[in-house]
């Protein structure tokens, strides 16, 4: 009984002290908070509408999109002083047909001002060969090849009158992690230091990215659906990945 009273007497001032200290500091060193990223799917500036809307590729060919899904993983944040934070187990599958998947939440991120974000478009090498996975990486999501271990990083399916495939189909399943057909790509973007990503205990900022599905077909190589309408890994997938490396994502704004 006595002992616990002493303890209480000791602990009380400590709590008081520490709570005093907290209120004076804008960013507590070990504090963690949450931010979110919204991926707004578009095609050359117009909203992406599956199945019905007709778009044009860089060659002026019409096409429609039925499926558009992609992985964003290994999200890494950097501060102006060069320190970085890799968000553990950050694997997300964005699916244009599932509205809730286009807004992702990152929890337990150390508070601070971040001036750069980078992430893998796809899934890192190791996870492609790992054992059975769950969550975003569950093969149930239809993004895992069963005959050649590995994930489909970006999947776009649709139609184009120019496609020579049966049913004028477009099938772009981009993946593969071994040279010469490695399609793992990293996207990085600086964040304006005047309005950095401010992760705070009392604020949950939101980053807004525009995702341009048409970026698969232009950039380094303008693709004609007459000659390329089907790829599941291999050299043609590399052409597509090289196209979207820089063109797929654009940071539009941040709500702090």
């Amino acid at each position: 009984m006595k002992l616990s009273q002493y303890l209480l007497a000791l602990v009380c001032p400590i709590i008081l002290l520490s709570s005093c200290k907290k209120s004076t500091e804008e960013v507590t060193p070990d504090a963690k908070s949450t931010f979110s990223i919204e991926f707004e799917n578009q095609v050359n500036g117009s909203p992406l509408v599956l199945n019905t809307t007709t778009y044009k590729n860089a060659k002026g060919e019409d096409f429609k999109i039925n499926i558009f899904k992609y992985y964003v993983s290994n999200i890494k944040l950097s501060k102006a002083d060069g320190t970085t934070y890799l968000i553990p187990e950050s694997y997300f599958l964005i699916d244009a047909s599932k509205a809730e998947s286009t807004n992702i939440t990152l929890k337990d991120v150390p508070t601070g001002d971040y001036t750069k974000i980078e992430y893998t478009i796809g899934v890192d090498y190791a996870r492609n060969f790992a054992g059975a996975q769950t969550g975003a990486l569950d093969p149930i999501n239809g993004m895992f090849w069963t005959w050649n271990s590995g994930y489909i990083f970006v999947k776009l399916e649709g139609t184009s009158p120019q496609s020579t495939d049966t049913g004028n189909k477009l099938t772009f399943h981009i993946g593969g992690v071994t040279d010469p057909n490695n399609t793992i790509r990293t996207f990085a973007t600086e964040i304006n230091s005047a309005n950095p990503l401010r992760v705070r205990t009392d604020g949950k900022p939101n980053m807004h990215f525009i995702v341009n599905a048409a970026a698969l077909f232009t950039g380094k190589t303008d693709i004609s659906f007459a000659s390329l309408n089907f790829t599941m890994g291999g050299a043609n997938s590399v052409i597509v990945a090289n196209n979207y490396t820089n063109g797929l994502f654009r940071l539009d704004h941040i709500h702090n």
Binding site: N128, F129, A130, G131, A132, Q133, T134, D138, P139, I140, F144, T146, W147, N148, S149, G150, T178, P180, N181, G234, A235
Partner: protein, 345 residues
């Protein structure tokens, strides 16, 4: 002589808890034989070691039940065990190529499932890289089980006793593809075949020795075959062409690597239990070992990527053929083929 690695731990915890809940505390849980993953003394360290998939009796039992569950397939007629039959060392007897749902004939011969824990790549072309994900292709292939994971998960969630079995194996009635694949792997990775006469002779067990013909065959084998069919697995796990066709109809390894020098190459298959795994080769073209040996003796075709060691074939006299055959039969592991632990119960 077996180094037993006990990867096993607490068993029937959940059952015990269930008993506790129902307050039948005086009821006694039945004793079970612990399932172990045993590494034969003449084998190296395995590639798969159950690190992220703790082997338990309940996990193994569930995996085995799923392995023999035909209701997982589209027309409820085909289980893993239909193509991977124990009496044939888990390959499909008498089928050149796999035979799946709706009487569909697949493209390749079913490989035996033995010593998979030592394999780093799976399938004839090495396309699959993890034992845990290797059942996925069979599940989804229109010609094998013809279904999808969503359907299987839904079936298992709504079919007794599966929710209970998942709870016993993994501590929760949650059923998802990861747990399905992990439990199946607790079954398939435990399929170790290392008790053939050859193994016992190698390990100098119980005074067993080769007959004169077997010994002569072993020596011939070491001279002519083991550069590819390397001991103790009787494969070096490499991809090669042994000259079956001038131009292969199946791309083989190059389907995965995209490299033309891999065209028509297939994984060197294990020869363990070869007596029971006929027909032979990736397309099951040979029904007997005599045909296989005659192929090496006189049938090797100079395919573009033919392995250089085989450019003159492997000339074999009829005595030599008989001796090699006698040796190959010492690779039969009856304890494995007849082990009731692996049988459908």
């Amino acid at each position: 002589m077996l180094r037993k690695i006990t990867v096993i731990a607490v068993l029937l915890l959940s059952t015990a808890m269930m008993y506790a809940c129902s307050k039948n505390e005086d009821e006694i849980t039945p004793e079970e034989k612990k399932i172990t993953f045993s590494i034969p003394a003449n084998f190296p360290a395995p590639a798969y070691n159950f690190e992220d998939n703790k082997l338990t009796n309940a996990g193994f039992a569930l995996g085995k039940k799923l392995f023999y569950e035909a209701r997982l397939s589209a027309d409820k007629s085909v289980s893993c065990g239909s193509c991977h039959q124990q009496f044939a060392a888990f390959t499909q007897l008498d089928h050149k190529v796999s035979h799946g749902v709706n009487n569909c004939q697949g493209k390749r011969n079913t490989p035996p499932l033995v010593n998979l824990a030592w394999q780093k790549a799976f399938f004839w072309d090495g396309g699959v890289k993890n034992i845990e994900t290797s059942p996925l292709n069979a599940i989804t292939d229109a010609c094998e089980m013809g279904t999808d994971i969503e359907t299987i998960v839904a079936f298992l969630k709504s079919t007794a006793p599966y929710p209970d079995l998942f709870k016993q194996a993994f501590g929760s009635t949650e059923i998802n593809s990861q747990l399905i694949l992990k439990s199946i792997t607790q079954f398939t990775a435990v399929l170790v075949s290392g008790n053939s006469k050859y193994d016992k002779v190698t390990r100098k067990e119980g005074g067993i020795s080769f007959s004169a013909a077997e010994l002569a065959g072993y020596n011939l084998f070491k001279e002519k075959c083991s550069s590819c069919h390397a001991e103790p697995f009787f494969t070096d796990f490499s991809y090669r062409s042994n000259g079956l066709d001038l131009v292969s109809t199946d791309e083989g390894r190059s389907h995965i690597t995209g490299v033309s020098s891999d065209f028509g190459k297939f994984r060197v298959p294990t020869l363990r239990n070869i007596e029971y795994t006929s027909p032979y080769m990736h397309d099951g073209r040979f029904y007997s070992l005599d045909e296989v040996l005659e192929h090496y003796n006189s049938g090797v075709k100079s395919s573009a990527n033919l392995d250089p060691q085989l450019k003159n074939g492997i000339p074999l006299s009829s005595t030599e053929k008989e001796q090699i055959k006698a040796f190959l039969k010492t690779l039969t592991d009856n304890e494995f083929i007849k082990n009731t632990l692996y049988s459908e119960s």
